[in-house]
Symmetry: C2
Subunit: 420 residues, 2 copies
DNA sequence: GATCGGATTGCATAGCTATGCAAAACAAGA
DNA sequence: TCTTGTTTTGCATAGCTATGCAATCCGATC
């Protein structure tokens, strides 16, 4: 009865694999509908197969028939050859240090049970071989990759660029890696998420301003924590950190009223942008509370770019309207507006017109604009996002939905200076 | 002689592991200096151990005793519990589809040998279970992760932000993932690289403007392809894509001469920035070729920020120097310079002074600046970088060093318009 | 010297997929 | 029906580390 003593206990020893193939009657190896490995590993649930079979004829979602999963690497993928260039492994180090592989692993785990003498030996060997701990197998073992998918768009907006910078820093300080995904539109989002998921990311952080239900569903179906910035997305796994857009809009309205602006202009961002909508709504409500009729508000449509701000004011000019106060949904449009006011209408801030933006991008402080703006307090928002992420990751498999709101701070500059 | 028929062939069958522990005389399990697994796997080289031992007493580089490797995840790392939430595996899909695990794998490989009927079955099962192919084990098998470490700094410069955007897009189109690392200074670079390497990235792409030898050495020692933008780094594994900084500087000089500027100003970036140095050198040489004496050139020191450009001109003003032509190492400094010229000295472009920048950031086109600038042709540079990367990855383990130079294009705007 | 508890070490394994190989199924022609 | 060539399928394995468990070592106490 000693291990594999009976004749039928093949396959007996892995190391005999090379010999085995000729050892037994090949005809015995009957085909079975399901792989032996699979059967063995899951034998306790084989009865389910029949039920599952019923599903097998169903239609496939298009994403599975084409797109991301199939659009595999264009670059070389001759994997076998590459494998010959083996990196230094913990076994190499163990051999050199004269210890077991486990000792090497422990030497690189801060809290492991290992004597300092052994650790020194191992580290010395590792250093001389150029060994770096390999996290890939650990991902398989733990099911956690410590990678977070960061999905962004619109990096041409300096606000998002600095936000990404701080986010990346914060994630790294929390021991998480950033797997970056830049998406241009909601269409590419699906395939982007597919790719991210195939790397078994632990969570998704996104600053996408898109607020559609489709996107929310796609994110919820990942079954991993999702943390959004300034989004209206709601769903089982989705947490959100928002700037107090509505409140800031109201503050802007009060400033307008204080400056005696009777017919304020609201320069809106794209309708899809939930943050922009909230700012506009807050602005509208603030004006109402200040006693201005709803008809007093002029609404201009922009798309968050400098050019659209310039264009919006140009249009206003053509309509013969002369603005006295403008609240822009973001700073880039506000800059465009300022330039158009000067070039097209010959108006200067703050003498002829006051203007407020949102985001407090670096350019708002540039002397040509000197733009009053709401600062989103990115640092705090990122900190809050880390808290939400931590909480969601700790919840392990339980969907969590939390929301944090961070107040924006009005940074007063020349564009709203009191003129007397 | 049928598989494992003899009694001493333990460990005989993995599936008997549970029984085995009590089957043989435990005292036989003598301790050996090196793990049995390691010894077995590497038996052909055990003689090396003695030689290796001699090295084991050496001093350790500090990075191995503290820092990145030890500063492990702050967030939860109870791996065992997490592992209970198993993701859907290919075996689950195989069971549901009534096929072997290999069939599932093949169904997701475009070129695999599999009948379309089987593929359909598998995809249907995969879709109903929400299975996504898992690339992590493939990384272990192939030794290629298809992840590229992207090391950046200075995202507050819109040029780098848009460059990152295009780079990320291009990498994704080539089937490569972006593992992002934002570094603030050369000090954090080492630990950043350590972390990246532990994820077995295939290559590094960086736009860091730091050009020190230490950095070059650190990158070379990774033993994976490195592609740099606008850097002077040289080393075994390092390839570079540079803007034709020197040539552009010469072009700028010719424009200066054509405008009749007798005492041009060079607004330099930080000395560490190799691109800035090259631009300045080209400018200097161009002036010489235009017949201007070396003493005609005024050099101002900046640090690539708007504020430093503003400050530089302010200093110039204090010195009582009135500039007629300025070439700035980048657009942000040029914008600061333009504002300072107007506010401090009352000078306007191009009437009183002409100015040229570099990078052609979006703000250069903003009406308040209307800045003539050299466009780096980012798209082409990224394309070239992809070519270099592809070549280097195909070279598998052979260090490659190539350089591409891409001409910059002068985008003429109002700041150098001919005034008559 | 004997005993005991704690610290350290090594062994064996799990984790999941891609792929070489051989077997089986299939197709086509004799 | 038999042969032969092609396509498809399943089996078994490799890849590397972290960790439970058991064995061993070490130091202290009796």
């Amino acid at each position: 009865m000693v291990g594999g003593g009976t004749g039928k206990a093949w396959p007996a020893d892995d190391r005999l694999a090379g010999l085995r193939s000729g050892m037994y009657d090949r005809t015995r190896r009957a085909r079975r509908p399901c792989g032996a490995i699979a059967m063995r590993a899951l034998a306790h649930r084989t009865t389910d197969i029949i039920r599952y079979r019923a599903l097998a004829g169903m239609d496939l979602p298009p994403a599975w028939c084409q797109g991301a999963v199939w659009d595999r690497p264009v670059m070389n993928h001759d994997m076998r050859e590459q494998a010959t260039i083996r990196a230094v492994t913990s076994i190499d180090v163990a051999r050199l240090a004269g210890v077991s592989q486990s000792a090497v692993s422990r030497a690189f785990s801060p809290d492991a049970s290992i004597s300092s003498r052994t650790r020194q030996k191992v580290l010395a060997a590792a250093a001389s071989l150029g060994y770096r701990p390999n996290r890939i197998p650990a991902i398989m073992l733990s099911g956690r990759s410590y990678m977070v998918g960061v999905v962004i768009g619109g990096l041409e907006n300096p606000f998002y660029a600095t936000a990404l910078e701080r986010l990346a820093t914060a994630l790294r300080e929390n021991g998480l890696q950033v797997l970056l995904m830049h998406v241009h539109d909601a269409l590419t989002l699906d395939s982007a998420l597919d790719q991210l998921l195939s790397y078994r990311i632990d969570a998704v952080v996104t600053s996408l301003a898109i607020g559609s239900k489709t996107v929310a569903r796609a994110l919820s179906q990942l079954h991993i924590p999702v943390v959004c910035f300034n989004s209206s997305l709601v769903g089982p796994w989705i947490s959100t950190v928002n700037s107090n857009n509505h409140g800031a809009g109201a503050v802007a309205a009060r400033r307008m009223a204080a400056h005696g602006v009777a017919r304020p202009v609201w320069l809106a961002g794209p309708a899809k942008n939930a943050a922009s909508r909230a700012r506009g709504e807050g602005f509208r409500q603030g004006l109402r509370e200040a006693g201005l009729p709803a008809t007093a508000l002029t609404r201009l449509q922009g798309d968050d770019t400098y050019d659209s701000g310039y264009e919006a004011i140009t249009t206003l000019h053509r309509q013969g309207i002369r603005p006295h106060g403008i609240f822009s949904s973001n700073d880039m449009m506000a800059c465009g507006a300022i330039d158009a006011l000067r070039e097209r209408m010959g108006l200067r801030c703050p003498h002829d017109v006051i203007i407020m933006g949102y985001d407090n991008i670096p350019q708002a402080a540039w002397r040509s604009y000197d733009l009053t703006s709401f600062d989103q307090h990115t640092d705090l928002m990122v900190t809050r996002a880390m808290e939400l992420l931590d909480e969601a990751l700790l919840a392990k498999g339980t969907p969590l939905s939390r929301t944090h709101v961070v107040d924006a701070q009005l940074i007063e500059r020349g564009s709203t200076a009191i003129t007397d």
